[in-house]
Amino acid sequence: MRELSLHILDIIQNSIRAEAKLVQLLINEDVKNDRLLIEITDDGCGMSQELQKRVLNPFVTSRTTRKVGLGLSLFQQAARQCEGDLKLESTLKEGTVITVDFKYSHIDRAPLGDIVGTIITILSVNPDLDLLYRHLINDNEFIFDTRIIKDELEDVQINLPEILSWLEGYLTEGLEDLRR
């Protein structure tokens, strides 16, 4: 994957398939300590101890249509080549936490890329999913919570084109402010 935001999109697809209602995405750009942390927490069906041991193997998937599942192993490989790693904690019926860290300045670290595009993509085809997105750069923080947005929208779906287009602008501005 050319961008870390594509790995994030891919891992959140796992949460969606695990029937998560809420996905929490934390991105922490700790430039001072030269670390980048990405954490994805869901309240989906979780994995058994046995599956957790095997799931980082690319030849493991919960799908029955084929025998490979590359998402987690690709993300882990991306982290390991940047003096980091991917870790996984999961409890059946409670959910899963995926923690990935990188050396921020590592030459092989892919850029975060289009995080806004990843979020809009998820919301456009999964309007019922809630997403809590926190992004930290050193001591500055940006928070986006679809539950607050949905309260404002009342009975209007979050994935109407005009709403998504507004959200895209809102997120883009928020992240620009954060980088300032």
Binding site: G71, P161, E173, D177
Partner: protein, 121 residues
């Protein structure tokens, strides 16, 4: 900075529009969002689909699916018009999207040179 006040205005406008929209028999677009699809550019395809729908003010259901085993043809996009066969388009670029939306969804004609599979209704 954008304010939630703007969002409330959009909501009020949308609430009026929704009553005019029909609820069934809509065209459906399905995007392949497995690892293979995402790596091949599914996110950009989906963005292009949403932009085209918004631009032409179309009433279309957009959903996703996982890997369907045609990874080498990703990014994939299916179009299902009400009562018609489901057509799979493959090896797409964002430029192909507006062609598919205009010819297939607006005019009801399958774009033969981009189609890779057909699923009977």
């Amino acid at each position: 900075m954008k304010s939630l006040e703007e969002l409330r205005k959009l909501r009020e406008k949308a609430q009026k529009d929704i009553q005019a929209r029909k609820t069934s028999n809509k065209p459906k677009v399905i995007i392949g969002m497995g690892t293979c699809g995402i790596a091949a550019g599914a996110r950009e395809i989906l963005k292009a689909v949403m932009a085209e729908i918004n631009k032409r003010n179309l009433d279309v259901i957009v959903t996703q699916t996982g890997c369907i085993g045609m990874c080498e043809k990703e990014p994939l996009l299916d179009v299902q018009m009400p009562g018609k066969d489901r057509i799979t388009y493959g090896n797409l670029t964002t430029d192909d999207v507006s062609k598919i939306v205009v010819e297939h969804i607006v005019n009801g004609k399958v774009v033969e040179d981009l189609a890779v599979a057909k699923l009977e209704d």
